[in-house]
Symmetry: C2
Subunit: 245 residues, 2 copies
């Protein structure tokens, strides 16, 4: 039995999310079917974390166990051959030791949220970014983001269906930068709550529009109450970039 | 009569190209129909240059004349309302003097060609970049690009159906830069021949793969013979970025 680690890119618009579901195609199912076609073995593919419908990945990590012996190149190119009709690409395949687990071995996860801040709709980035017409002050958003750094009870930014045992997480990086029309929010942590980045993004845009003060963000965090947080940003702009092990 | 200048973004995959054609939807036709829906006037929209099917634009420029008086905002937002089903976005609309002409007033045009240099197929950038699996030496490509800078007879890099009167053009900028997996070729000139950038890109990739020396590029240019040039790069990676007036 060989344990394989994959680094995977996908366009989230084509899927109901990472996890197998009854209501449509998932990335997990597509990968499991590709392994079955390639190696004629039924496997369970474990992801480093779930992504919602419409959320993209530049570097999702997954693992699975395979009896058949194949080279790294055969795994990568063979899976891509069977994935060529769906928007999933295996960037890298690597043999790892059997104590590696895509989810539980992860030390840090990285995400980027892309906002295109302009009046005109998105011809090239439709579904790939959140278009906001009202001017956003990215520096104010960056200052407000500092309030959320570190270890906190993030109940205010947690989806009601979140399955995490504890709402306490440690946010290691949360930055907001602007380059021309594009604002990027970068977030890094060992793990995140469900919708945490999208809820934080929605809150930071309230600051960017000048509706919320930084103090209000501080109060919202302290309230530990989802109704005190800002709106949930759409999935379109969210990219799962990488996992550190 | 008011002359309007537009800056337009589009996804070239949805069109047969900029110019009106019988065999499918063009960007020119879509814009003319949007103006007609907005202002109930039949106009001719003039572009700064044609783009082929599959070639994208971040900043194509066009102009048209309208009898009806409308504000800049009404033109931009009104056209975008009528363009919302197709992947065209009007970024900017501006009243200009009647001696402005999108094509003949242009002093410089800018393009970027995106190559993703990796083995794995493109899940997120399919149709938006040229994926090349074999390793490309971007520095060698950049050195070879210098051979093509300046005023030359570019017959070697000209499509057979090119309608330009002269094959002599002046290339002001031609750079090749790499950032991780992505190689970007930036080209700027007053004007270009048909397929010039795609033919130059195809030739530079031969250098990047180590098949062609820089001297061979010099000889190909001097030959003034299309058959001595490299292959034509696909439209997917080409972006018309901007026009200077």
């Amino acid at each position: 039995m060989t344990r394989w680690k994959l680094i995977v890119e996908y366009d989230g618009r084509n899927f109901v999310g990472w996890q197998r579901q009854d209501n449509g195609p998932s990335i997990q199912q597509a990968l499991e079917e590709a392994v079955e076609k390639l190696a004629h073995e039924t496997v369970r593919v474990h992801g480093s974390g779930r992504t919602d419908a419409g959320v993209h990945a530049l570097g999702q990590v997954a693992h699975f166990d395979l009896g058949k012996r194949l080279t790294e190149r055969a795994i990568r190119d063979g899976l891509n051959y069977h994935l060529h009709r769906v928007a999933i690409s295996v960037l890298h395949a690597e043999e790892v030791s059997e104590d590696f687990h895509a989810r539980t071995s992860a030390k840090e996860r990285g995400y980027v949220y892309r906002i295109i801040n302009r009046r005109a709709p998105l011809a090239l980035d439709d579904g790939r970014a959140w278009q906001i017409g009202r001017h956003l002050d990215a520096e104010a958003m960056h200052e407000a983001a500092k309030v959320l750094l570190g270890r906190h009870d993030f109940t205010t930014f947690r989806a009601s269906m979140c399955q995490a045992k504890s709402p306490v997480k440690t946010l290691d990086v949360l930055t907001v930068t602007r380059s021309a029309d594009e604002i990027r929010i970068t977030a890094r942590a060992r793990s995140f709550l469900h919708h945490q980045i999208r809820n934080i993004t929605g809150t930071l845009t309230q600051v960017g529009e000048g509706r919320w003060s930084i103090d209000r963000v501080r109060e919202a965090l302290a309230a530990r109450d989802r109704s005190q947080g800002g709106p949930t940003a759409p999935p379109d702009g969210l990219y799962f970039t990488d996992v550190v092990y």
